[in-house]
């Protein structure tokens, strides 16, 4: 009994000292800690936190797409008194009730990369996926002739990011190449699904000229599928989305012909900057567009310098 008392007293002392010298705690709930693109976003978040002098508590879901663990983490952060929360929801609508609770308790919430539908957030920091996907679709259309068959590898269609990218691409591509057939390979942001799907579809349709992808994990899956079937670089054109390092390397080898790069680092960086500003009570713009960069074999040098790939 005595020991327990001493221990808890020590614990209390420890906690008060830490909280006395502690900076504001900003919660950061990421979608994935292992996906190459997400690692760039997370890096941006870490750097912004260091710059702002806030303590970043970063937590990822147990596996990609796990809503329940995100909800749990969200509630824990609110309970622990986070001053603001940056979140990349795995499910736009599913996270809404938790966001509503936090906002009504006066904790600013910044949505990063994926929006929240059904709840207001302090700020939404992301690429305008729909607009960028339209650029992707228009550029992809210039790589094939009207009437050519192409494959589009989708992202998760239960998320706004996946829906907007697909819709933007389809609209712009169909407008420029009305007689082309687009075969879809559905995925939940899983490159293994992309690989197996592309392999199956190309096997059944030898006339596919191009594979466009909703994200670069899909691009790498599609590249592996083509290699498995014995194609060489350039036989079937690849179009990516994200500007991930491995996709840009594949562009240098002649596989990828265009890639609409998101400013991934900026997304995490500006997201946490906005969260820190909101935590201090400053006004934050409700929509921060982090822009994009069209990477082609001609512009890849500029892009690589910009994001620091050598």
């Amino acid at each position: 009994m005595n020991y327990k008392l001493i221990a808890s007293a020590a614990l209390c002392a420890l906690m008060t000292t830490t909280s006395a010298m502690a900076q504001d705690v900003i919660g950061y709930i990421t979608k994935s800690a292992t996906n190459a693109g997400w690692m760039m976003i997370n890096q941006g978040a870490t750097d912004a936190a260091a710059e702002e002098g806030v303590k970043l508590v970063a937590v990822g879901p147990a596996f990609q797409g796990d809503l329940s663990s995100q909800l749990e983490v969200f509630e824990n952060l609110v309970a622990q008194g986070a001053k603001a929360i940056g979140i990349a929801p795995v499910d736009s609508a599913g996270i809404a009730p938790a966001v509503n609770d936090a906002m009504s308790a006066g904790i600013p919430v910044v949505a990063i990369d994926t929006g929240v539908s059904g709840a207001a957030v302090t700020s939404f920091v992301a690429t305008d996926n729909y607009a960028v996907a339209k650029v992707q679709g228009a550029v992809a259309a210039t790589l094939v002739n009207d009437g050519d068959t192409i494959i589009y590898v989708t992202g998760n269609q239960a998320q706004s990011t996946g829906q907007e990218r697909r819709n933007g691409f389809m609209e712009a591509f169909a407008a420029a190449r009305p007689n082309s057939k687009v075969l879809e390979v559905p995925t939940e942001w899983n490159s293994q699904q992309a690989q197996e799907g592309v392999e199956a579809v190309i096997n059944a349709n030898a006339d596919v000229k191009m594979v466009a992808n909703a994200w670069d994990g899909g691009t790498m899956g599609a590249k592996a599928a083509l290699e498995n079937l014995g194609y060489s670089a350039g036989d079937v054109k690849l179009v990516g989305f994200d500007g991930a390092g491995d996709a840009i390397a594949a562009m240098d080898e002649g596989w990828v012909h265009a890639d609409t790069a998101q400013m991934l680092y900026q997304m995490g960086y500006q997201g946490i900057k906005a969260a820190a500003a909101a935590a201090r009570g400053e006004d934050v713009s409700s929509r921060i567009d982090t822009g994009f960069f069209l990477v082609t074999p001609e512009t890849s040098g500029v892009y690589k310098k910009m994001v620091g790939i050598n």
Binding site: A33, T34, N35, A36, M39, F63, Q64, T154, Q157, A158, L183, E184, V185, P186, S191, Q192, Q193, Q195, E196, G197, E199, A200, V201, N203, A204, N205, A206, M220, G221, K223, A224, E227, N228, L229, G230, D246
Partner: protein, 518 residues
Amino acid sequence: MATPENSTNEKLPLQDKLISVMVRFFRTEWSGAFLAILILGISIELVTSGRPFFHPTNLMTILNNSAAIGVVAGGMTLVILTAGIDLSVGSVMGMTAALTGYVASFWGFPPSLAILTGLGLGVAVGLFNGTLVAYFGMPAFIVTLAGLSIWRGTGHLATNAQATPKLPELFDYFGRFNPFSGLRDAYKAKELDGFAATVGGFIDDNWINFFRTFQMSMIIFIIFFILLSFIVSNTKYGRYVYAIGSNAAGARQAGINTPQYTLMTYIVCSASAALGALLFLGRAPYAKSDYGQMWELDAIAAVVIGGTSLFGGRGSLWGTFMGVILLKLINNGLTLAQLDTFWQMVVTGLIILIAVGLDIVRQSRDPEAVRKLFASIGAAMAFFTLLTPASVFLRAKIALLEHEAMTQLLRAGEKLAMGQNNRLLTPNEIEKFQEAISITLVPSLLFSALCLMTILVIFKNTRAFTVIAATIMLVAIIPLFLLDYQVSVPFLILGALALFSSLSIQTVFERAKALNVA
């Protein structure tokens, strides 16, 4: 399945032979999964255009992509046969894949040594899991649930969750390498003459149509299952696995060293997961520690779909083989059929239910259960026929209702979000939907009645009633043509066939008993 009822005396031997073949088929554990594969394959064949679904290259693609998860599920089968479970296989696969690639890329291990490291890791994990389960008496579920987390975390930690560069060529021999490619290249370089040139030419001509997808993945996959099923059915080890699974205490009393054989089984399972990792690396763009997520669930699903009991002691490796192929076939086929993503999820679940349902009916050996199954097929077919007019009817009705609700909201002064705006209709669209409703109302009602009738047949087993329902189904083909719904004709024919054959099931069962094969 429908055996002729009014067969003459000299035809009887043939009929008896058919019955005994059928009985033997349904006695095998894999028949449920096999039937589901067949049904799914035929339905995909019907809805896809272009190259047929049963084309060899497509089947080989499915086998290639089943290889990695298949080998993992093969190891899992043994564990489940001993009434155990291994939830860590997905994580072990991911960790092995990541570390094998990592030591090959960054530590300068020669590829062969890296591969041995990977397999060694698998054995070590199996030793760890198996010792805790077999010698310390910890529940397999808990040990491997902990392993699920430990090994995934270890993989991430060791490699920092970063992807490796492209792996050395030796890894291709576990995956994308094509044994015929050398011959084809030599032919194209015109290095061959005589018979070899003829063979090379044949390969080159049929490259896209056949040889392209003949790859190491599927070869290793098939050899692995042949070897493992030989071991299970022909060695002491195999017999003990079944013995431990059906009655562990009895096995111990019979003098079997159960801890030792349990430990061996966990080692085989983890080593299979490691081999699965190598097969996966042979087709993947790079090595990474997040491979194999949720594979434990897919592997367990494949084992159970293949007719192996989760309580141990009953099941077979070939059942698992069929189970894996069914799971991959669902992905492959539904993608080829370009079915909407959300429908794919629903259909995937339904197919798994069908496979397991077939297996339960098979095990029950009860003629009434089989009759109910056939009647259900009839009802499902009537339902599909109903869907053709009813889906149009419902869609139009719902669109009008949504339009109504949205106008109400607007009138109340609410602002509509972007997605909700889509639900407002133009006057032109409203007219179109109203017309669709008036056209489809009567056929929807008629086929609803037919559907209800077939559902009654499931629960009410009278000969006359079944005959009437089946006849109405056949007669209904005429209005179907008049209404321009020819697409559903096959459904009605199939449904009537199922109902008619449900009549002869009792006879077939009695005959089978008389033949003393059942």
